[in-house]
């Protein structure tokens, strides 16, 4: 059957060592016609960043933090001041040596209002740019306004790539960083290329160069891969049909990035009937996430059980309430919403929205909830529907450390708080967790936070989906997780 053949998709790209050299051709969707190479800005051309720049710390394959430009980091006992020991012998593409001044400037650039960095919302409550200290060329001291034991994890965000001191105005065009590749050319929403940076501190990358083409239409991207015009589709979660076509072709195949995005049905907690926590709870108990994974993902993913923290995150808690339609019915009855009817908005923006919505609709019926799936136009979906309609479908990329995730999406008043959830206890819990220097205790607190989100929050999180990435059969050493892409190891066979 069809289902069988889908689960038969390969789990990873071809194994084996790449040959040295060659040019990898990547097709990517343009962020916007106004995209730039400024990593901190709101419109950065995402694929270039990892190739051109380094961060202080990054996320390892196990979800923990690993050194990048910072070799080591430590906090004082209260987790109020963080000290980063920076790598020596690192040079920017323009020949300048990387020092603590550059690292400090990077933080100030993010916090600068003119940059309009999305990460500023997360960092500004913590850092006062004036208090940053650089005792020597390879030490950066960051005093925090309030204690934060997970602070370095916030610097793994892709807005936090390190740029040269004072380059804020030009970085958007020059792309000068310390990364494995240096910029050749770049056109917003257009083609561009980078070449291997021989003097990279971790050794030169396998590839000689990468060329980027921006192709907005997903089918066009897939066609380019099938026609052998490009080797890799970035930020493209192929739908199953296309994935099968790609897999069946002799030029390309499918690589899977496990649990790379999580899907949400955010309930606006400011809109009736979701103002009532019992209704929210009922909506979650009413459906079976395993069913949704089966229907919408054909098994290519993991059930979410309404916990947005990915299962492979070290802080993820496993416990969750069981699927219980009867209790859901009971809760609704108590809330005075027996036989609840809700509109669920979806769009063709992402191929999984509608299947997920339909699967939810199916599953929740047993709890007496009638869901009407309404399809909205894709192009105005995020302006007209998201954060406006009481119930809709959306998704996020995983790869955010837990504190970043909670702060950005679930804390009261945060910029991406799509459920408009405002819970004093949760906010206080977050603060306490940050201040907690005992790792075990902190882990427990973040666990409590997850439970709170599951029990009281507005986000129904049915599933984590694998990303099906189209790659050429020549590609070797492809590794991607969260926002991390291994530009050093990737290469081509027979290039």
């Amino acid at each position: 059957t069809g289902a069988a053949s889908i689960t038969a998709l390969p789990a990873a790209a071809p194994k084996g060592a790449p040959d040295r050299g060659g040019t990898l051709r990547i097709a990517r969707p343009p962020a916007s016609d106004a995209e730039t190479l400024d990593p901190a800005g709101p419109l950065s051309a995402y694929e270039y960043l990892g190739a051109l720049y380094n961060r202080l710390v990054r996320v390892g394959t196990d979800g923990g933090l690993v050194p990048d430009l910072a070799e080591a980091w430590e906090a004082d006992s209260k987790a109020r001041t963080w000290t980063f020991r920076l790598r020596k012998g690192v040079t920017f593409h323009n020949g300048h040596t990387f020092t603590s001044a550059d690292a400090a400037y990077t933080l100030r650039h993010i916090l600068d209002k003119a940059t309009a960095s999305p990460q500023a919302g997360v960092l500004a409550p913590l850092i006062d740019p004036k208090t940053l200290r650089t005792p020597d060329a390879h030490t950066l001291v960051v005093p925090l306004k309030s204690p934060h034991a997970e602070f370095p994890s916030l610097l793994t965000h892709y807005n936090c790539y390190v740029i040269p001191d004072g380059s804020g105005r030009s970085i958007g065009r020059t792309g000068i960083g310390t990364g494995p590749f240096r910029l050749d050319s770049f056109a917003p929403a257009g083609p561009g290329s980078v070449t291997a940076y021989q003097d990279h501190w971790a050794g030169r990358p396998v590839l000689d160069a990468i060329s980027f083409a921006s192709v907005a239409d997903m089918s066009a991207r897939a066609n380019a891969l099938l026609a052998g015009q490009v080797d890799l589709l970035s930020q493209t979660n192929l739908d199953f049909a296309t994935a099968r076509v790609v897999e069946a072709s002799d030029r390309a195949t499918i690589a899977r990035v496990k649990n790379s995005q999580w899907y949400v049905l955010p309930m606006l907690t400011t809109e009736k009937p979701f103002t009532d926590v019992r209704v929210r709870k009922a909506m979650k108990l009413a459906y079976d996430p395993e069913h949704v994974v089966k229907v919408a993902l054909q098994g290519a993913g993991t059930a979410g059980w309404d916990n947005p923290v990915p299962p492979d995150d070290p802080l993820h808690i496993r416990s969750h309430p069981e699927h219980d339609p009867d209790r859901a019915r009971h809760l609704l009855k108590k809330a005075g919403h027996e036989g609840l009817t809700v509109d669920l908005h979806t769009s063709s923006y992402d191929p999984l929205f509608t299947p997920m919505a339909l699967a939810y609709q199916d599953s929740a019926r047993r709890a007496g909830i009638r869901v009407r799936v309404k399809t909205a136009a894709a192009d105005s979906y995020y302006t007209q529907i998201w954060m406006k309609k009481p119930l809709m479908a959306t998704y996020w990329y995983t790869g955010r450390p837990i504190d970043q995730l909670f702060t950005q999406i679930f804390r009261s008043g945060s910029s991406y708080n799509e459920t408009a959830w405002s819970d004093k206890d949760f906010d206080a819990l977050l603060d306490r967790a940050r201040a907690e220097t005992d790792d075990k205790r902190r882990r427990e607190l973040y666990g409590e936070g997850q439970t709170m989100v599951i029990e009281r929050g507005g986000a129904i999180t049915p599933m984590f989906a694998d990303r099906l990435v189209g790659v050429s059969r020549k590609v070797r050493g492809y590794a991607e997780h969260g926002f991390e892409f291994d530009y050093l190891a990737i290469g081509l066979k027979g290039a």
Partner: protein, 303 residues
């Protein structure tokens, strides 16, 4: 032929002199039947209409019901034309899609052609400044590509049946006006219109009694031609993502959704293409036949 002539005059003798209205229908029917293209075209359109109307009887499947366990099936006894990636029955979607294609294009074409006919006739008959200004404005409207105008209208008012119907109608009015005006201009200088003017008839009476009956053929052909254009245009619009919203079973949308998977499940995109092409070919044949039967040169008149 002369009345002095003892031999009976052939034309009147063979024609049974029926009442004018009935005679016209009969004549039209006869000319139509004699044109093979028209018969084939009308038959194809008729089959499409029937299939669309009887869709619920012809297929037990729901055109929008997802069924992941049946995704991407080839043609088989259960799903005659296979399924798409959501496990929806392709045949059901194509059959129901006909309702959308036919319904929307029929309604919008009727609207557009009716409006265009009235305006076009009025312009030809009134002439003078009214005609001048109208022609200028229509020319200006025509100079903006239909697809752009449609995109703008759809983005202004959102997608949905009423919007698309109105938008298409509005976009086509100028083209209809142009053709109808041209046809009416050929009628207006005719002596019988002059005679009506000399009698002092009102503009409306002239329009209704003298002009309209003589351009009915042009209007009908125009209708058929516009209909084929509308079907194509709407499917293009859906293809671009500005038309029918998924999961509506729309042909253009189906092609857009399934075109990349054409090597895996060819029927999912071929079936709507075949449906679309046959419908348009049918309409084109019908209008060709009609225009031949009525002596209207459709290409000369319009497009």
């Amino acid at each position: 032929m002369t009345a002095l002539d003892p031999a009976p005059t052939p034309a009147p003798a063979t024609a049974p002199a029926p009442a004018s209205a009935g005679g016209r229908t009969i004549r039209t029917w006869r000319t139509l039947r004699s044109s093979r293209t028209a018969v084939i075209g009308l038959a194809v359109v008729g089959v499409h209409v029937l299939l669309a109307l009887l869709a619920p009887l012809l297929t037990p499947h729901d055109p929008v019901a997802n069924s992941p366990s049946h995704a991407l099936l080839g043609p088989g006894p259960e799903h005659w034309a296979g399924t798409d990636q959501y496990g929806r029955d392709v045949l059901a979607r194509v059959l129901y899609g006909g309702r959308y294609a036919l319904g929307v294009s029929a309604v919008s074409t009727v609207l557009g052609v009716a409006l265009g006919t009235v305006i076009g006739c009025a312009a030809a008959l009134r002439g003078g400044w009214f005609d001048d200004i109208l022609s200028r404005v229509l020319d200006a409207v025509l100079s903006i590509p239909a697809i752009l105008a449609l995109l703008v209208v759809v983005t202004v008012l959102g997608t949905g049946y009423p919007v698309i119907i109105c938008a298409v109608a509005v976009v086509f009015v100028p083209q209809v006006v142009r053709v109808v005006r041209g046809a009416a201009l050929a009628v207006v200088p005719a002596d019988y219109v002059t005679a009506a003017r000399a009698r002092g008839e009102s503009t409306w009476a002239i329009l209704r009694r003298e002009v309209l009956p003589n351009i009915v053929d042009v209007v009908c052909v125009e209708f058929a031609m516009r209909a084929s254009w509308v079907v194509l245009l709407i499917s293009s619009l859906s293809f671009l993502g500005f038309g029918a919203a998924p999961p509506t079973p729309d042909w253009g949308l189906m092609v857009a959704e399934n075109r990349t998977a054409i090597t895996v499940v060819p029927m999912a995109s071929l079936a709507p293409i075949i449906a679309l092409a046959t419908l348009v070919v049918g309409i084109n044949l019908a209008s060709d036949g009609l225009s031949k039967a009525w002596g209207v040169d459709r290409i000369r008149e319009g497009s």
